[in-house]
């Protein structure tokens, strides 16, 4: 158990490709941090730099106060869980878990005790003498976690560990990982491209884009106050609708209608609308319905306001006409700079309902 610090970490591959640029993260002892972003955003590279599988081009990585840039993976006292499990196919579950300890020269008694403890925790007791190929995907993933646990490392590193599992198993394994981590209290760094996984697991999220940190924060904070249009569109499902809007005369105009009063200089802005903040009402913005996704508990109505796509979550199941009217609470609007995409903090207030 230890805190983990990344100080302006960067990675440039041979050939001059910048995979990761200037990443600063302070991870507290026992914290569960999720690195999330689309494929190619550098999240795996970052994790592998912490693990020591990639060299660090710039900056420093500290684990438990010790600079580990030049240490071998084995000396960093970390354990890693891989997407394809990476179990040793010719070893039994027991040997798979014991291998790392054996290499460290632990005594037989200690190894046996730790393996038994991990097996009990992960309910793997009856599989200890099986080979990995005789296990299901979920069980293999558990063995991979067992291999990490027995080492009692300073930090767990997870590289998309659930991506190879089917949807249902993913949800239950997600819970297991979280419970396990809370019980062990081991600092964890978890990489995923699945924003739902990220939201549900993380103490804090790190949203990465193009090798840069877009935002670091608690899941709800990131959800409620996305720092950029990228974060806004990446976190949350359905994605936040981003629309081109105008500010004129202290009013926010979308498709010619005033939505709110603002204190920002006139000009184009990007307006973000969460689907659940929009309501279908009698009077409001006109939206042409394109198609409806029925989810049972709710439905997602996709449509066009002017020529821009918007999604609305609707709790009712009354049939919809070709056109609906939608409205939104001004305090729930998100404004982003039209050019940089960064969030604009401003107070928005209600304007008089436009006349029909």
């Amino acid at each position: 158990m230890a805190e983990l610090t990344l100080k302006s970490v960067g990675k440039t591959y041979a050939g001059g490709v910048d995979a990761v640029t200037d990443v600063n993260i302070d991870i507290k002892d026992g914290e569960f941090i999720v690195l999330v972003g689309p494929s190619g955003c550098g999240k795996s590279t970052l994790l592998r730099m912490v693990a020591g599988l990639e060299t660090v081009t710039r900056g420093d990585v500290h684990i438990g106060g010790r600079r580990v840039n030049d240490l071998d993976p084995a000396e960093r006292d970390i354990a890693m869980v891989f997407q394809n499990y990476a179990l040793y196919p010719h070893m039994s579950v027991r040997d798979n878990m014991a291998y790392g300890l054996k290499n460290r020269g632990e005594s037989k008694a200690v190894i046996e005790e730790r393996v038994a403890e991990a097996a009990r925790m992960l309910e793997l007791g009856q599989y200890l003498d099986r080979k990995p190929r005789a296990l299901s995907g979920g069980q293999r993933q558990r063995v991979a976690m067992g291999r990490a646990i027995v080492r009692q490392p300073k930090a767990f590193l997870f590289d998309e560990p659930l991506s190879n599992l089917d949807a249902k198993l993913r949800v239950s394994m997600r819970m297991e990982i979280r419970k396990l981590q809370q019980r062990l209290g081991t600092t964890s760094l978890y990489v995923t491209h699945d924003q739902l996984e990220a939201m549900t697991l993380a103490d804090r999220l790190v949203v990465l884009n193009g090798g840069r940190v877009e935002q670091i924060g608690a899941p709800l904070e990131v959800y409620r106050k996305p720092a950029s249009t990228f974060v806004a569109s990446f976190i949350g499902a359905p994605a936040m609708s981003l629309l081109d809007a105008q500010i004129e005369g202290g009013q926010l105009l979308l498709a010619g209608q005033a939505l709110a009063g603002v204190g920002i200089a006139p000009g184009p802005v990007t307006l973000g609308l969460r689907a659940e903040d929009l309501r279908i009402v009698a009077n409001g913005l006109r939206m042409r319905v394109e198609y409806v996704e029925e989810l049972g508990a709710q439905r997602i109505v996709h449509g066009m306001v002017g020529d821009q796509a918007v999604a609305v979550i609707d709790q009712h199941d009354t049939p919809l006409g070709p056109d609906v009217r939608i409205a939104v609470d001004p305090t729930r609007l998100h404004l982003f700079d039209a050019r940089s995409g960064r969030r604009m903090e401003t107070r928005l207030h209600r304007v008089a309902e436009p006349a029909q």
Partner: protein
């Protein structure tokens, strides 16, 4: 149920006969007396001389020195075959390991250089090889017989392809588990390559077993006679009115077949696995 088609079976049976007949003929002929074979030709039915012939072949002291028995030749052939197979596997595995897992300059170039030697058969380089061995005073030794032919492009190539199919994560997991290069090789790669090793063992054992030209050149001492040379020397006595001991030649040929067949039978299942599937 599939309908039985007589014509298909006929073709298959003919094929089996075509492949098996020479072997059966050799086996059966070896149980006849030499004169019998000389006057009546090969035979498909057992004769009455089997036990004598085989006993003689295995224990009769022949050659110029009168020390060469069939058992000695069998032993020499086995040493050649096993030495080749084990040595080639060990060497080519290590070479492939270096080529695949270590980043060093000219690795690809080196690989292609090794690969290119596949194009050169033994006969092409036999003179220089002989000279080197002669200057090292390794003529008439097992070392001289085996070592010069150990470098194997085929083996290196097979193992390289196999190692490349091993997922990188396995190496990374091992690194995190604290396994260095040697440990990773011995603990992970070698056990994973078992089927591959079996396949190459078969190929290389038979290759070594069947060597004829190289032992012929390398050894003048009769105690290094291999079975292949033994068969040849029996047939070489055709001078004057001497009748070659056909039966003995056949008996030796049959004996020479047994170990390779045994190796194939034992390793067959692994062999097929090794060639067709790469372990997950």
């Amino acid at each position: 149920m599939q309908k039985i088609k007589p014509f298909d079976h006929l073709i298959l049976i003919l094929g089996v006969l075509f492949l098996c007949a020479p072997v059966v003929m050799a086996l059966m002929s070896s149980t006849h007396a030499a004169i019998d074979i000389h006057s009546n030709g090969l035979s498909l039915l057992p004769g009455g001389n089997g036990i004598e012939t085989y006993t003689k072949v295995l224990t009769h002291r022949g050659g110029f020195t009168g020390d060469v028995t069939g058992l000695l030749m069998l032993r020499n052939s086995l040493i050649m075959g096993l030495g080749f197979a084990v040595g080639k596997i060990a060497l080519s595995m290590m070479a492939a390991y270096a080529l695949v897992y270590f980043r060093f300059r000219f690795a690809t170039l080196l690989f292609w250089a090794i690969f290119a030697t596949l194009l050169l058969p033994l006969e092409v380089r036999i003179m220089p090889s002989y000279q080197v061995m002669s200057e090292l005073h390794l003529l008439n030794t097992y070392t001289g017989l085996i070592v010069p032919l150990l470098a194997s492009a085929t083996g290196t190539f097979f193992f390289r392809q196999f190692f490349r199919s091993v997922p990188d994560e396995l190496l990374e997991a091992a690194r995190i588990d604290g396994a260095g290069p040697v440990k990773f090789f011995i603990d992970i790669l070698v056990p994973l390559s078992k089927t591959m090793m079996a396949a190459i063992f078969i190929i290389m054992f038979i290759y070594g077993w069947n060597q004829y030209l190289w032992p012929l050149l390398m050894t003048t001492d009769e105690s290094f006679y291999t079975l292949m040379r033994g068969i040849k020397s029996i047939l070489q006595v055709w001078v004057g009115s001497q009748i070659p001991d056909y039966n003995e030649a056949f008996a030796l040929a049959v004996l020479a077949m047994v170990p390779p067949v045994a190796v194939v039978v034992i390793f067959q299942r692994m062999f097929i696995k090794g060639l067709t599937e790469s372990d997950k």
